[in-house]
Point group: C2
């Protein structure tokens, strides 16, 4: 029998290790005693144990089995538990606490669109909730089952590349395909998808679209909404199929009705995405250090607005994140570090900037040269290719530190927002003050998706939870942070989406008339309210 | 008293002249005799003369006057006639024929959002149609009054720049502002709007957004949907205000519900648009000639997919358009022309390509160098900066030849579509065969908006109309062209929009479920069906 721990773990071998850098950081910042390090709790080693009657009748289950085959319809505790929650901190915490509030009834693994169409029809006729499910890596509670029902997991059998069109530079896929599987097929033919969210290894094309995601190269290649050419969406009211025009003026763009819809209108089944020529050997890398966050931000803004091309990866770590990176990478107090300090690049102020530019001919080198010129103007010191290359190598792995950190009784969470340049520094300042007001906290902030008109801010924080009050402690702290961000003109999300965790703020942010519009769309596509129902996106 | 001719003329001084090049072309292609050249007809010199009772009561008119002032509410024949039609060929033809089917009742010139809100309320309560009106340059019958009612002309008093935000590179405007007025203000502060449709001088920001327009620099700066950061829209059901986040993941992007909505949901009152740094002195210009259309297209595609940056202006004239340009510019049979022929660039096959690259540092020159390299690979010959510079100088003026050409009894019309690279040549071929099947025709085709995944095709055609059967002749020929384009996988429009002229094809192109979605949105925003009603976008 499986345990709760089996459910919440990534199952990735990298997650077992908490490297010395991280361990020492936690020990020193949180004054962890040996006792605290050893006496871990909430490991979730208990066997899965929840009682919930199935709301779906046997005869309906039989219909699903007739459509997808017996071997693709599950009502086992393990399957139900592993699809009921996503990867938000509170969801992981609940699993550690042995709580599964509203377990799904069934997990179905369809293998083609026709099956999905049939399943949606049956669910609609029987008013059975459906949660579309890809990699399950949502960090917004977007796929948390609220009223039980069916989980439609597309990642197992509905994950094929349908067509690569070399002439059009596009790929059509079944949306359950995982990032690495797509990328491997594309690379073989000399292309890249250009979309590399941190969840890349455990997320699907359908999830990227539903959550309006962004990858680490989004500054160059755009968010997912700039990559989608066409979609097929199966809604309870019918199927929407759009065409892969490079652009058009045929009334409103229907793709945008579903990008960011988080499963509330229908199941996104096929997507035609832009792809790009793949020249990894030509990529230019550049790392800089600035004397202050403000100067780094100003340099970044100037680059984005200058009109000389732009990096694909473009990041700034704020001073605290920079110091932590230096500490963890063993750079602190090296000879180079001492030189930096003498040159005026001081801990607590200095700020790392990373850039990588893709492309052909000498474009990457050309943009890098311009970048260096702009950075220099803002007293940014070029520190070579290596730091950004190192960063890229481990870009997915920090997610896998999550569980070992939680094993020490520590909250680990992220929050991300977008903001115009005008308001970026004040938002950063206010959020920093708020974060640092918590007595024991390690908070890191970076900018990682950059535009002509502003950028995102990405917050990562670690803090020991209050034993016995884990949920309330987190909820209070999280609420305070979101309030500060909204008050300082940040969006509720830049690329994680809203889900259920941020939906209480939607009316204020999206406007009452925006919400009624969502409701009207919901009513149109899903009059029985079966698609991912319950508190999503600020809807009832 | 005004004549019909007063109504349909642009009123631009450039329109009086039909240059020798054009005149000779028409004479030679259509075998026009002196008699035909002199005996012009349908000049529309008759006095405006139409009888239609106002459907709006005096008391309601008085309410409008109370809101906007007596001097901003008109029911004169002249005002009604000049706002009832846009600039589509059939609309101009009808004015020449002295036909105004369904004249508007009133033209109102509001000066602020509050007035617009009040007017929309009154119209909604009294079920009075509203047509939002900017520059009036629609070529799709999108603003043609169908049931009379009120024209809300924003261009007179609702046309101010509200704010230029230099830090964010954005501008907020009242949507009635005309292109040149916006550009002048921006240039003064070192910025450009980057959006230059051919209608630039007679179109407004509101119109650009409502029709999902594109400007000549769209290959670099994007279509209008890529420029809009935030909108205010006044709908009968309430006001939608979006925020100017550089990007976000807050459910679906509400801006996209209104971009391309062509006035059927509400009045777009304010827009926050991206703006760009303005370095006109740095722009690089490049003109090429290719041996065939196919090679030019292949070179263009390679450039767009190569990842070395891209031009802002990027155009190909097909062989017929190239020959006509050479003829009209007096290049034919010059010494240079003879050399070109010897080199294998032959009339009937050779193809012009124009590019202009904007930006700072050496970006324009860098991209130009790459462009040249790619062109050379496809046997494209670089022919200097001058041809594209010349073209840019007169880029708006060909529109003003429209009326003098129609004075000779000649249909002048355009059609534009978008298509993936894969289908571009077959679409071009089929459309060419169709166009050339008309006995007397001058047809020019170009590509002018280019993407990684495809491009637009823009058709311009001139042909003597059948006297006495002008409307039917045009309608038959136009229908045949649209059918060919749709059959060959072109969109109904790349940037003109759908309006009433293309709405009969919408169900096929947009899908029945797409149309029901539009209807659901319409029902939500405008339950009384007052916003630009009557055959718009395929709706009833």
């Amino acid at each position: 029998m499986k345990t709760y721990r089996d459910i919440f773990k990534w199952g990735d071998k990298r997650e077992e290790m908490l490297d010395d850098g991280m361990l020492n950081l936690l020990i020193s910042k949180f004054n962890l005693s040996n006792d605290e390090l050893e006496n871990v709790h909430l490991l979730g080693n208990e066997e899965l144990n929840f009682e919930h009657d199935l709301i779906i009748s046997e005869s309906v289950i039989q219909q699903f089995k007739n459509i997808c085959g017996d071997e693709n319809v599950y009502s086992t505790k393990e399957e139900r538990a592993s699809h009921t929650y996503g990867k938000h901190f509170l969801e992981l915490l609940k699993l550690r606490l042995g709580i599964i509030d509203n377990p799904l009834d069934l997990v179905i693994y369809p293998s083609n669109s026709d099956q999905i169409i049939e399943i949606v029809k049956i669910c609609n006729n029987n008013k059975i909730p459906i949660v579309p499910f890809g990699g399950g890596s949502s960090v917004t509670m977007a796929l948390q089952a609220t009223f039980g029902g069916v989980c439609l997991d597309l990642s197992k059998h509905f994950n094929k590349v349908i067509k690569i069109n070399e002439s059009n530079c596009s790929v059509t896929v079944e949306t359950g395909i995982l990032g690495p599987d797509l990328e491997k097929v594309l690379n073989k033919q000399g292309f890249t998808c250009g979309h590399f969210p941190q969840s890349f290894e455990y997320s699907t094309v359908g999830g990227w679209i539903a959550a309006r995601g962004a990858g680490t190269l989004s500054t160059g290649y755009g968010k997912i909404e700039e990559m989608v050419l066409a979609l097929n969406v199966v809604t309870p009211s019918g199927i929407i199929e759009t065409k892969d025009y490079p652009a058009d003026a045929q009334a409103i763009n229907l793709n945008n009705i579903f990008i960011g819809s988080e499963g509330i209108f229908g199941v996104i089944t096929e997507a035609c995405l832009k792809i790009r020529k793949y020249y990894p050997e030509k990529t230019a890398f550049a790392s800089f250090i600035f004397k202050s966050f403000e100067q780094a931000v100003e340099s970044m803004r100037e680059t984005m607005q200058a009109g000389y091309g732009k990096p694909h990866l473009f990041r700034i770590s704020d001073p605290d994140e920079t110091d932590i990176a230096f500490k963890m990478k063993g750079f602190e107090n090296t000879f180079s570090d001492k030189i930096l300090k003498v040159l005026g690049y001081k801990p607590g102020q200095r700020t790392l900037m990373f850039a990588a530019i893709e492309g052909s001919n000498k474009y990457p080198e050309f943009v890098k040269k311009c970048l260096k010129k702009t950075a220099k103007k803002h007293k940014g010191l070029y520190i070579g290719q290596k730091p950004v290359k190192k960063w890229l190598e481990q870009r997915y792995s920090s997610a896998y530190a999550r569980d070992p950190i939680m094993d020490k009784g520590i909250i680990t969470d992220t929050f991300e927002t977008s903001v115009t340049w005008e308001d970026l520094l004040s938002l950063w300042n206010s959020a920093r003050i708020y974060l640092n007001s918590r007595p024991l906290i390690v908070a890191m902030v970076h900018i990682s998706h950059v535009y002509e008109n502003g950028a995102n801010l990405y917050f990562t924080f670690l803090s020991p939870w209050k034993k016995g009050l884990e949920v309330e402690d987190y909820q209070n702290f999280h609420k305070g942070l979101v309030d500060v961000i909204v008050k300082n003109k940040g969006s509720l999300s830049h690329h994680h989406g809203i889900g259920r965790i941020l939906s209480p703020w939607m009316k204020e942010q999206y406007g009452e008339n925006g919400i009624s519009l969502l409701q009207a769309l919901k009513q149109h596509f899903d009059p029985e309210n079966i698609m991912n129902p319950g508190g999503m996106l600020g809807l009832r």
